[in-house]
Symmetry: C2
């Protein structure tokens, strides 16, 4: 790809423009352009319709322009599933720093956990030929979503979340081990009835962290009790709600591990609303250890996942994949570490608080 | 611009590519491309150097490609000064919803309050010809930064923050009135010694919110005391530090208004660390009323700034500017409203807590 030479540009005949075709067919110019270049990102029926309309109107693809686009653009597109979690600010800063040092500029697309929005945003970014895509896939994404990107010839690297078995490079944290560390810490303090707040099966991190929770319990010989697992998105408002549901159980747990720090911050608010002091009346372990964790009073015990480090690793994987598209797939998993602060203590019986 | 017809494509001579030129001159392909198109975003010396090198090597600009690019791309670029504040998630969602309905796709660039990074990110986005730029300028941006964008022929609209007198459309909140509302609420509760946490003079919102604080005091006949103003970025960690500095004053205030909710959340953590209960021992008013404000216990009294509404207004301004580049400049300022929750109460003397 490096030594691409612009092919001879064909001359567009007549006055047919992408814009005109788009208006006539009721499609975006991006879709028209992708269809004319035979992109697999456009449904076959649409592709054929566009190509036929273009031919009928005497439109000849400008191969000079297409060739220019196969040269490197020095853009790397970062597709995130949302930006509400401050962990993404840490990730973005690390990715940008590493890629800027390599002469790249980072553009951001946000799917807001919506697969259709993800397809549209990544499709638009793809139209402008980034050298690579770093993607944290929206919930319920499939391997086909990533394959459609890769089929455009752009390097694809998964970051934070992955689609297991997709065959694309990945950088993130060893989430199973991470949550198991949190459970082991609570077990060592004497807890036997431990809840889990947040996370769900439609995302790889949800599956791995739940597996870590189960593994931690199993290692201590504690049977898994599904009523103690409050599934849901890792958001502050959800964490607060999930904590209230835990406290409303017939026999509430004395502690909980969380899917992420946002869940834990919400749970801290919920404990306060219930008149309980974290680290005195109830134990809570966050996950990620973002900068905010230590700001809270009491400071949140959490599992540090080295976000900046795996962000840099993802950037590095992208650069290596750009340089050598044929290299073998590589996975980078950072080993998390427990950071004990002040929200964990030995177990204290918790009175039930009905909703 | 709508009816652009691709000009006859000139044929590149020899094997000179953007990529090759970029490598030879040690510049990015984006810079080379901008320079060849005489873009004012590239310094004149660089422009001349690139054009001369291109001529010497027989490179003829592919005008077909350039013409394609003057057609609408249906991309709108959103340039934010950071993404750490959840208010930007609310803004992004509103902007995206409005623009998606109009057939546009939103790409995001983040400057992280760095003018040089802003220039690079917006420059790369400009290279791909968005129909419009929505920009919340990085601290210390000047009108020239926006003019360089506008000179590329792309519609420019300011959102949240503005460069006063720049002549570009703007949508945001009436921040002066907003903070004055918060001060008036505290005055009505009996407070006379009121601090201000966060904000600074390098951003328009900092200047306007400080002016609102002063106006609120003046309306109540309370003299302005600069020692009660803790300037700095509106971030949780800063809010916690600023609150500690207020409490360390010889005669601490009994209440504070905040530059934004993040400052207030940090201050809530700081009050808790100082053993003070917000709404009982000390009064605090946030700003923006993002979704998290009501999650806290006690719920944060804040000033609602209608972020989704001004996000939609900014999207609308962009669409109108795209349709009619010559239309008169328009400013949309939403009137904020005070939302009283549980962090404000009548004044209680506050004991000094040295740092």
């Amino acid at each position: 790809m490096d030594e691409t030479t612009p092919a001879q540009a064909n001359v567009p005949l007549g006055k047919v423009t992408l814009q005109g075709l788009a208006r006539e067919l009721g499609l975006s110019t991006a879709t028209i352009s992708l269809a004319l270049r035979d992109s697999p990102m456009v449904a076959e029926a649409t592709r054929l319709k566009v190509q036929e309309a273009a031919r009928a109107r005497g439109y000849v693809a400008n191969r000079g322009a297409a060739a220019l686009r196969t040269a490197r653009t020095n853009i790397v597109a970062l597709g995130l599933h949302d930006i509400v979690n401050p962990s993404f600010t840490e990730l973005l800063a690390a990715v940008e720093e590493a890629l800027t040092a390599a002469g790249k500029t980072v553009l951001l697309g946000v799917s807001q956990e919506d697969v259709a929005r993800q397809a549209r945003t990544l499709g638009t970014l793809a139209e402008y030929r980034p050298d690579a895509f770093l993607v944290s896939p929206a919930a319920s994404s499939t391997v086909d979503d990533l394959k459609a990107l890769a089929a455009t010839g752009i390097a694809v690297v998964q970051v934070t979340r992955e689609i297991e078995g997709s065959g694309f490079d990945f950088a993130g944290s060893d989430d199973r081990t991470g949550v198991a560390l949190g459970v082991a810490h609570l077990v060592a303090l004497g807890h036997r009835r431990i809840g889990m707040l947040g996370g769900y099966g439609a995302i790889s991190t949800g599956r791995k962290r739940l597996a870590g929770y189960k593994a931690g319990l199993a290692a201590a010989g504690i049977p898994f009790d599904p009523t103690l697992v409050m599934e849901g998105p890792g958001l502050r408002e959800e964490g607060r709600r999930q904590l209230a549901r835990l406290l409303a159980l017939e026999e509430p747990p004395t502690a909980a591990v969380c899917f992420n720090d946002l869940s834990a911050f919400g749970a801290l608010m919920g404990l306060s609303a219930a008149g309980l002091t974290p680290g005195k009346d109830f134990s809570l372990v966050g996950y990620d250890d973002i900068a905010e964790a230590k700001l809270w009073h009491p400071g949140l015990t959490s599992v540090h996942t080295f976000i900046a480090e795996y962000g840099r690793a993802a950037a590095d994987l992208a650069l290596k994949r750009i340089a050598d598209p044929g290299r073998p797939m590589e996975r980078v998993e950072m080993s998390p570490e427990l950071v004990v602060r002040a929200t964990t203590c030995p177990p204290v019986p918790v009175k039930r608080r009905p909703l």
